[in-house]
Amino acid sequence: MSEDLEFAFALLLSGASIGLMYSLIALGFVLVYKATDAINFAQGEFVMLAGMIVVTVLGAEAPLIAAIVVVLLVMIGFGFGLEKVVLRPLLGRPVVAVIMATIGVAAVLRGLSPLVLGIETRALPLPIGDEPIAIGPASLPPIQVLGAVVAILFFIVFSWFFKKSRMGIAMRAVADNQQVAQAMGINVERYFAIAWAMAGIVSALGGVVWGAMLGVDVQLALVGLKVFPVVILGGLDSIGGALVGGLIIGIVESLAAGYLDPYVGGGTKDFAPYVLMILVLMIRPYGIFGRRQIERV
């Protein structure tokens, strides 16, 4: 393989693995939107909170597995609590109110969790080593491979969940039409709470993976900003869309960084996804796999 091709392959591979890690976070967003029609602007802060909880538990000399169990439990509880305290009273209010409330949640988490759980940047060590894993002519750091694997696993589990399990089918019914679902004997409020708890689970593992990659501090919440290009591209209510959208955004980002950065002096990585997102919003606002039911003006 020529050198150019190898460079391109390395960029593609790295972009794809980062992209899968993006879809891991985007999955939390999609789950909530799919079931409750609520938009979570605090997804990145969820991930940050989870990462902080993990390093705090690890800091108390606990084994990693205990930390993961703790963070899963805490984030499930947090999801339930958030739905109960903030989202439930806003049922039936304009979508703008829900957006602003989740922005408020994001501000609270970003402001208070470092005060409680520690302000300094901490590493989150995972027992997977630093030796890059060679794939073809390129290689990836093990954490990216792990992140990609976790994302794919979640994708399989949730696809099964929504297609086959009783709970998942009920959740789809709730998403489709709340009144009819209620008439069929589905406890709508319960499923709303479950959806937020599931977002908590996804964020917990997202926090572990991203925390291990970037280190844990307030800046970890900025990953959440990448969620929007991913979900807009893939379609807000599509789990497969989150996966594909993540892949595309990751690859676009990586290619832009590889080929454009030398000309514009760096930073295209943070720029290209949003340009792509604006284009998608203009041309196909419901994304690749999203429901076409978008309220036009």
Partner: protein
């Protein structure tokens, strides 16, 4: 504003829309003006004047956002970016072409309005959630562009220093002088907004907010009015950015990051969506809040934290309290401080004989 009326006796639409519902309202206005123009600058200490100055700037920006979010019902998370557009436009004009403030200020506003219309373009096709995300993208793209294009940002620090504004050789160089400078623009913004929202345009905005399809049917060109709302809102934001630039003597993109957009959203939510008076309350509230937190923490917090931790604690606490207040007001009192003020007024309307 402070008068007590004994009931609603309006018989014409003109009477209902009047700026001064009763003659006495005019006199209270005159009294308030006298207090702010004559008494406050004479008796208030320079430090408190500087707080008032910040409030005046915040009022201009928050009024702009409220026109868009509160009156027209279009959400924007990119207000901070529009401010930065105004700030850098004015700073570049002032430094490179040596223009006076009365040219750079409208220029900054117009530039922000232009960018605002471009960012608001998606609102023609999409709304609600999608618009929020589109304006968020606008914020991030503008921030990135300013930070990465040296022609705009003036070099490595991405900041441009400007001289204090001056008019006919009179330089606004102290807090006391800046006070008059900023008071003028705050009052201008308030009067402009009051007149805007009682005019044909303002009522069209409200119609678009309440039910856009119905608005279109009664002959409102909603495309035009949505873009107009974005333009006016961004114009206010741009002017606000220019005022910040002149006030601090420097244009720096860090003053206009996404957190600022959230601050301004907090102002209008806490103050009251779709209310000029509420916007003023919100601007006062949000500007004073960090100062109160800082004073409180300096008194109480030194028992728990070291001086080095204090800065982090204060900024974290500030953000947390902001978020908490946004959630609280959204859930408990969606009409904000303005509603509380109205409740107090209507209680005193027939006081002390309430039956």
């Amino acid at each position: 504003m402070f008068h007590r009326e004994s009931g609603v006796f309006k018989t014409t639409y003109a009477g209902d829309m009047a700026l001064y519902p009763l003659p006495i309202a005019k006199w209270t206005m005159v009294a308030i003006a006298a207090v702010f123009v004559v008494i406050v600058p004479l008796v208030v200490h320079e430090y408190y004047l500087s707080i008032l100055n910040l409030i005046f700037i915040a009022i201009v920006g928050a009024l702009g956002l409220n026109i868009l979010v509160g009156y027209t019902g279009q959400i924007s998370i990119g207000h901070g970016a529009f401010m930065s557009v105004g700030a850098y436009t004015a700073a570049n004009l002032a430094v490179r072409l040596d223009l006076p403030f009365w040219l750079t200020l409208p220029a900054g506003g117009l530039m922000a309005a232009l960018i605002g219309v471009i960012v608001g373009m998606p609102s023609l096709r999409i709304k609600g959630l999608y618009l929020a995300i589109a304006t968020l993208a606008g914020q991030l793209i503008i921030e990135w562009t300013i930070n990465h294009v040296p022609a705009i940002s003036g070099g490595a620090q991405a900041s441009i220093e400007v001289d204090r504004p001056s008019l006919f050789g009179f330089e606004f160089d102290t807090q006391g002088r800046l006070y008059f400078f900023l008071l003028f623009f705050a009052v201008l913004a308030i009067v402009a907004t009051l007149n805007l929202v009682r005019s044909r345009i303002g009522r069209a905005f409200v119609a678009v907010r309440d039910q856009d399809i119905a608005a279109e049917i009664i002959g409102i060109n909603i495309y035009r009015y949505k873009l107009l709302a974005f333009a006016i809102s961004s114009f206010f934001a741009g002017v606000c950015g220019v005022l910040y630039t002149y006030y601090f003597g420097i244009a720096n993109y860090e003053q206009f990051q996404i957190i600022v957009s959230i601050d301004y959203l907090a102002m209008i939510i806490i103050g009251g969506l779709g209310s000029v008076l509420g916007t003023i309350f919100g601007a006062i509230f949000i500007t004073l809040l960090p100062i109160v937190i800082r004073i409180f923490m300096e008194e109480v917090g030194s028992l728990f934290f070291t001086a080095a931790q204090m800065a982090n604690v204060i900024s974290g606490l500030r953000l947390g309290v902001f978020g908490g207040l946004i959630i609280f007001f959204l859930i408990v009192e969606p009409e904000g401080l303005n509603r509380l003020w109205r409740n107090i007024r209507s209680y005193f309307r027939v006081w002390p004989f309430s039956y």
